[in-house]
Amino acid sequence: MAVKNNMTASIIKKSNAPLPSRERGGGEGEKVPTLLKLKTTAGDHHIARMAAVALGLTLIENAIPTPLPGVKPGLANIVTLIVLARYGWRVAAWVSLLRVVAGSLLFGSFLTPGFFLSLAGAVCSLVVLAFAQHLPTRWFGAVSHSIYAAFAHITGQMLVVYLWLIPHAGIAYLIPIFATAALVFGTVNGLIATRFMHNADMSDIHTIEKQIESQT
């Protein structure tokens, strides 16, 4: 599914519309009020819905205590994986990045180091997924995508930590912990995504079967 006209802002000029009250007072000459309107398509609404689901999972995830800061299951990536498999990379990128930005606004971490860590992780994951999605589907499923994305995620985060936050070789000691977490959570998330899609496909087949039965 190709999403066209994402977030196209169009300026609609209405010369006949009544002037807003604050512009009426010192009015010299005719002012044309402009109305900024966001034209959204059904595709945009779909992306927003998916991002909202991902956001909900982020919220749940933040309630789970973690043994080490930075080790998180990344449940929201389940949504990204399903969207990638169903609607392609472009939609997945929108959902993932919207989730990062909206999530940071929700938790009050916008433009903080935590936000940039999330962003770096998400961007690296998406870059790797752009390649991983072309793996033959006969042999590779969402589990593979999830694991590659999880490794890309920590790679991006460790790069940001090393290049910007803690430029010290000592953080290399933490890499095995993060890599193990990435492998475990990547596999689990991939399995959840695969299972979800399998169940959804099965229910689709059942409804189609019922429709056929009712028609005959």
């Binding site: 590779f140 589990v143 694991i147 070789a169 890499i175 095995p176 890599a179 991939g190």
Partner: protein, 123 residues
């Protein structure tokens, strides 16, 4: 179970992921064993001794004599006149980059491997 949904390539990915993680862990967590011990006194290098010979080395500092023992490719400060005995309690040093400091007596032992490792002291 969800296991039936894992395809053969996914198993390979998991396998290579496991191998990668194990190799990373071994590489990053197994510090290199030291070859030599660098003994400093008053900020200057007193002696650089190989760990192959078992020996006791006496180093004179402002408070008295510190005794450094080298045994079985390990080193420790066996006795020191410092009041709190931190460097003595540190025990045996084996890995490259480890260091025991007796600040009051201005004596230190640093373990050195084939290449210099970074830590918070020398970064």
């Amino acid at each position: 179970m969800a296991l039936q949904h894992i395809k053969i390539g996914d198993w390979l990915t998991i396998l290579f992921g496991c191998i990668g993680v194990v190799m990373l862990t071994l590489k990053l967590w197994n510090g290199e064993l030291a070859d030599k011990a660098l003994i400093r006194s008053g900020g200057k290098i007193f002696r650089e001794v190989p760990l192959s010979n078992n020996q006791n080395i006496e180093v004179r500092g402002p408070l008295g004599i510190s005794i450094i023992t080298i045994q079985n490719r390990k080193a420790r400060i066996a006795s020191d006149p410092s009041p709190r005995q931190y460097c003595v309690r540190q025990g045996w040093l084996q890995q490259a980059g480890e260091i025991a400091l007796c600040l009051p007596n201005q004596v230190s032992v640093e373990m050195i491997g084939s290449k210099k490792q970074y830590d918070s002291l020398n970064y």
